[in-house]
Every structure is written in C-alpha cells, then in structure tokens.
Subunit: 314 residues, 3 copies
C-alpha cells in the first residue's frame, strides 16, 4: 500500500480492520516500528479529532508527527501549474510538496472542497497535486470527495457491534444543517459500506443525490421512514446538493433523527462522524442514549490511523 486515499478492496479493508483491532487491544505493541520515521500532518482546513488521533497513532508506532496548520499559518499555496505568481499565493504546491517530501516519510493531508469549483473538487485536485509532487506516501485526512480514515473507523465500529454471521442493514440518512457541507463523509461511508459488502440504503430529500460513483449498489429510498425500518445501523450526516453543486436545497427539520424516527428500528445503533450539531442533525435523546456509537467511532479513529500508518511504513 503506497497511498491511503480511498477504499481499495475487501481484502485490504478486512486486513486494516483486523490490524486496527489488534492495536486497540495493545496500542504500543509496535512502538519500535516507526522509530526515526516522521509523518507530516498538513491541514489546509481545521481539525480536532483527526489531528489528535493521527498524532497519537503515529506516536503509538514510535513515529514523530509534526503538524502544519497551513490554513492558520497564512501560507497560501499556488495549486495551478504555469501561473505567474504575482498575487496572493506565496509558494507553489510543486515546491512546497517537494520540500515536504524530503522532510518526511509520510504526508497526511486535509484538503476540503471549494464547493464552488465542481470539476476541480471531483478530480480531488489538491490531494492529487500533493501525490504528484511530494514523491512520498500520502494519507488522506479528508479530501474534497473522500474521508477514508473516518470510514475505516466506522467499519471497525460496525464490526465491533455486529453479531458474527449477521449481515446488518445499514442506512445512511441525510440530516438538516445550516451550512453547505462537503460530501466526503457520505461518499466514503457509502464506498466503504458497499465495498465491505454491507446492505446499504441511502435516504435523503430529492435533490440531494450523491455522486453515483460512490453509491452504485446502494438502495436509494426518498421516504426516510421506510428506509429506517429494521435498520441495524443508522449513519446520520448532512451534505449539500451535488447536482446543484454546493447549494442548500432543504433544511427540513423533520429529517432530524429522533427516537420517534426509530420506532420501527428498535435495535438500531446510531452513528455520526462528529462534530455533530445537537438538536439540528441529531437529538440529544439519541446522542445521550445507548444507541449512540459516536464516541466509539471517534476512539476508533486512533486505531484506524495507526493501522494505515503501520501498513504504509511496512
């Protein structure tokens, strides 16, 4: 495995889940594996969980993580080739990525979409510029279109909460929000759930269809109540429109998941990648109940990142 930016195969997914679970059981068992190796964590956008869990994962392997909050530190990168750099950008991605490639053994990058330049976003332009120019392995800490470490943590969490032999019903449901939110978590969750051969239903108001590249094989059901019936796992997430790119079409509060929505799914576990806006996306009653797996998902971010870094450094 050179880069970790998306779902690759059922076999690799299973291997990473097993490795992550072994680290959860004994986090420092490979403490010597990464000695003398460095991971540079480049944030072009803010992060709490991702930053801390990646640092911890690296330290658990004996690696030295160094964080660069490029968004905060005012280091505006030029991403387009051939530009005359006589405006706001101070350094070209070619040069910055090249230097980082000589400083680190692995680069972990967070680069959100613009939500205005659809072509650039769907090509995952910024992430791919880092891959192109750094010359070293790249781990996505959420790109314009995918959030694979979150999805790996989600798969670990579902596995931990599934009786062996069962093929659970998984529902990804859209939730209201006040801001235009990227598609990365929803795309990746769908890509991984389908890749790991879960029975996946996606439900959202009309106009919120995700890019089919990620959802092919899932059942699409516009009636949320029908979709939720008999669900084992309900993944709650907002996203903006993909077809009418980056726009908010509905903030219909009836889509917020509450206990009443789960009357026909009595055993459903509820998931969210966090941060969650309480009582807008998801009700307090659910988040504070035993249904909620959100803290377990967050905890599993450490072991997902640790498995990925471990696999990359060999």
């Amino acid at each position: 495995m050179k880069n970790f930016t998306q779902f690759e195969s059922l076999a690799l997914g299973q291997e990473l889940i097993d490795l992550a679970k072994s680290y959860k059981n004994d986090s420092r068992k490979d403490i010597s594996k990464g000695i003398g190796k460095r991971v540079g964590c480049i944030f072009l956008n803010p992060s709490l969980r991702t930053r801390v869990s990646t640092q911890i994962a690296a330290q658990n392997l004996g690696m030295e993580p160094i964080v660069l909050n490029m968004d905060k530190e005012g280091w505006a990168l030029e991403m387009k080739d051939g530009e005359v750099m006589n405006k706001g950008t101070v350094e070209h991605i070619k040069d910055a990525a090249g230097v980082l490639g000589t400083y680190f053994d692995v680069l972990a990058i967070r680069a959100f979409p613009t939500l205005t330049q659809k072509n650039e976003d769907t090509e995952d332009f910024v992430l791919n510029q880092f891959i192109r120019h750094s010359g070293i392995p790249i781990v996505s800490l959420e790109s314009a279109i995918r959030h694979p470490l979150q999805s790996l943590a989600d798969m670990i969490t579902m596995k931990e909460n599934t009786p062996s032999g069962k093929r659970p019903k998984v529902v990804l449901t859209w939730a209201p929000h006040i801001k235009a939110i990227p598609h990365a978590v929803a795309n990746s969750f769908s890509e991984w759930a389908l890749g790991m051969e879960y029975d996946l239903t996606i439900t959202h108001p009309e106009g919120y269809e995700l890019d089919e590249k990620f959802t092919k094989g899932a059942t699409l059901e516009y009636d949320q109540s029908k979709a939720l019936q008999d669900a084992d796992f309900v993944y709650v997430k907002n996203w903006s429109s993909f077809n009418d790119y980056g726009k908010i079409h509905s903030t219909d509060p009836s889509w917020m998941l509450t206990e009443a929505h789960l009357s026909k799914a009595p055993d459903a576990k509820v998931m969210h990648c966090l941060p969650v806006r309480r009582n807008l996306e998801l009700s307090d009653e659910i988040l504070d109940s035993d249904r909620s797996l959100v803290q377990r998902q967050a905890e599993n971010r450490i072991y997902a990142a640790q498995a990925v870094l471990s696999k990359i450094i060999g």
Copy 2:
C-alpha cells in the same frame, strides 16, 4: 488525587511542594513514570508560560503532551445543555470532552471567565463541564476563578525564600491596569497562602473586594502603606471589581509598587505571576532588582506542574 483544580489541604499542599522541589533538583528522575500516557492541553485562551511549562513537565515524566489551541483554531464549543445548535457553535462540550476523554489520560484546561456572566463564572461552569463530560482527571491551567498551578509555584517560591522556623508576613496588593483582569490569580493566591497557614494581608482600593470564599482569614487593609509595613513577600496583581462585576473602578497610578512603597519593608521580596506590565503594575527598579522573585516563580511553574501530573498518574 483525581483532579487538580483548587487547594485541598495543608498536607497535600506540603506533599506537592516537596515533590516539586525534588523534581527541581532532578527533573528527569521519574522519566519512565509516564511512558505511554498522554496529557491533552486544551487552551480556550492564550498562554505562554503555562503552555510551555506544562509541556516540559509532562516530557520530564515521559508523558506525551498534545496542545490544542481551541481559541485559535476556531472550534467554538457549545457549553449549554439542550441547545438547538443552529448558530455559531460547532460542537457540544459533551461530545468534545467525551472524545478527548478517550484520547488522553489527563486533560489540562485553560478557561478564562467571561467577566460579564457572574453566575456562570463563579460556578466555574466551563471547567466543570469538562470535569463532568470527559471522564478522566482534569488539571486546571487557570479557570474562571482559580489558577492553582500558579499558586503552587508561588508557594514553592515562598518556601525557598523563607528561613526555616519563620512565619513570614505576606501581602497581596492590587495594582493598576488598563484592562479588566480576572480574579483567578488573586483568589488562588489567597486560598493557598491561607491554606498553607501564612499570615496574609490583602490591600486594594475600596470597591475591589475579592469573593470572601477565597479570602476568609486574611486581614483586609485599605491603606496600602500600612499593609506593606514589615512585609516579607509582596504579591502584586491587578484584578477588576468583583462586586460590580468585571468593571474597572480605579486605575490610580499611586498604587503601582515602587521602591518608595517599600521604605518600611526593607527585606520584602516582590512577586508577580507574569506577564507584568512594567511601569504600570510594577516599576522597572523593582523588577530589575534582587527583590524580584518573578523569574523564580515562572521557573517553578515547571516543577509545580510536574508534581501535579506525577501525583495524578499515580
């Protein structure tokens, strides 16, 4: 000791002072004690000394410190239960503290008062929300009403500068400032000095009375010159009004401590928690003289934090 947020007892105070002094003598003697343990240092407000001294203290114990400048990183936490989060806050303290509780072994938190919401501040609302929701030991790096690591460092410094057998006269004197400053350092200094059984006099202009919860047992003297007479230690600090909450009543420059103020306290040592505004709170002549203990106090912040972390991780 689970949490470290305030003065607890003379016995514990003495134990922490002795432990801190032993670390000052040999900072790395417990370098293996914290191996594999992590302290998350959460700053809701800026910090220089506190951040660095806590990182060093943790490293001296073999712990891994990770700093989160939440104030700078734009991660606005919702503190109130039951809110519909459809405005500026992006994550609820319940969820954020819960996640941090799964990532770290100890959380160290800085959360200044609002100086406008008196009830919320005097309940130490934000600190207590972290205690309530993180599930792990909490160290205060200055809360709305207390700054116990500063006070512990101050007690170490006074102990180092007191001939054995003597009970020194300690004076806490208000000083002018141009901004509305919290009460935390003054409250804590009073609480600890009284708890450690020093003879404490507090002096300030009328209208600057501190919360009696912290000062009961001290002598209150409005005449600064009378208060300073025969002082062994003079602790200089500004604070805003507590009764007329968060307001500035006086900036009377005659309250700034100078050599002339100490004519009847020839041997007095002068203390300040830093940062100090020179020639506004305290004169250059004092800060640059042998009377000043401010650098020693700052240095002892390392060993105060190291003693506290050491005691918490057991």
Copy 3:
C-alpha cells in the same frame, strides 16, 4: 560556539559544513547527545521550512523542540527599555526572554525587520534583546539582517555540487517581486560566500545596493547579462532598497531569471532559498530543470540546523 547568528570564520564554517554532511549521511548517529535538552523555537514571523527543519534537526539529536508562534498567538512583546506599558504590548522582552531562558537550553528565534525603522533593523535590535536577556545560547532563524542557517545550507549545497579543486564563480542576482522583501538572505549569502572564499559577483538594478558591511570583497556589476557569464552558481533573490530603506524601486520583469539569461552560463546551477514566486522571480523552465538546486538547499536546512545545535550543546 555560544550563539549562532552570523558567519564567524572559515574554520568554523568548514567544520559546520563537514558536520552537517556527516549528519546527512547518518542523521541519527548522535541521537543520544541531546537527551533531556530542549530548544524553544520562537517565531515572531511565519515559517514553514525553517520551523520543520529545526524541529527535525533537534529530534535527530534527541532534543525536545517546542514551537511558540508568538506572531499567531497574539503575545505582543515590548522591546523598548523603560516604557510605561499602558498600550498594546502585554509582556516585556526582558521578562519573556528571562523566563524562556529558564525553560530551555537553547532558544532559536525568528525576528524579521520592520523595513521602516532602519537603525533598529540594522542593529538587529530584537535578536540582540533576546541575546541580552535570555542568558542562554541563541540560534538565529532569520533576523532583521541575516539568515545564517539558510546560508550554511547554501554553502553545503554548493560544496556538494563543486568538483574538488575548483573555485567556482558565484553570482547573486536580484529578481523582481511584488512586495518589499528583507535583505537578510542576500546579506547572509554574501557574507558566507565571501567568508568561505568564493568568487562572488552581485548584480542588481541601480538603487538596490546592499549594506557594504556584508558585500565588501564582492564584484558589483549592474549589467546582469555580463554578471551571469560563466557562472557556476546563480543565487536568485529579491530584496528591497537598502539606501531608500524598505522601498521598491523597480519590478522590471526583464530581471526574472530564465533559460535565455543563462545562454552564456551553460553549466550554471540555480539556487533560491524558497518560497519562490514562480514566473515572477524565476521561470518554471529553470525550477523544473536539472539546473535547480532549490530542493537540495531546502533538504540541507535540516543538516545545517542539526550541525549548529550539535555544536552548541557541545
């Protein structure tokens, strides 16, 4: 060697280059040398390469680096002695440097010039205040007038690319820019290239003469094309006027280095300290060609810093 702030001697320069090359060959050979020692990296201005390369250099020696982005963290220092601090500055350099001197074994400081206060800048006032008040060794991470770690990395890079026995022709050429840029890199490069006994020619439009303190011994040639003839190394850099302090006199695009400029220097290697504004200072064709040494210079920043820290901690 106590401080590292400028070129000292040919012998020391040679020793540092050799030590750096030995670390480049085996970066962790002195991994135990700095155990228990700390370097505080104080940034009064932004940094990417310098921050990361210094952290890595320290870690390669077993030292613990702690970064303080004082510019970002809103900790405005008062630099002038005797001021009444009743305005924007929150702490005096005397006190801040004194405390940092008790917390660290070495301080590494970045302090850019004002480009408006010529006397203060040319005295390197801020760096010297840290030297005066910290009481511990100081490493310059670029001061108002010098950038010695960059120059050391540049000398390593030239040495690596020079056939033994040859005395290469080195040209420092001014390049256009849209902002007023400090003189530090140009000054230091000249100081070190002359100190290491290279044959140095400096070329720039009239009005861009550097401070003679740094350039005495170099050939000054206003005709860029004449200067570049038979060059072995061409160092490209913008700077603002020194005589008409901090002003931009020319942004003449014909001074941007392109392949056409190097028609009479077919073997010239091209250098730049980065970040470089592509197609404003230097053309893509050069930066993307084998002529370019810019990635090697950046990589050598690690080993330059490692050699300096190693020498300082003895």
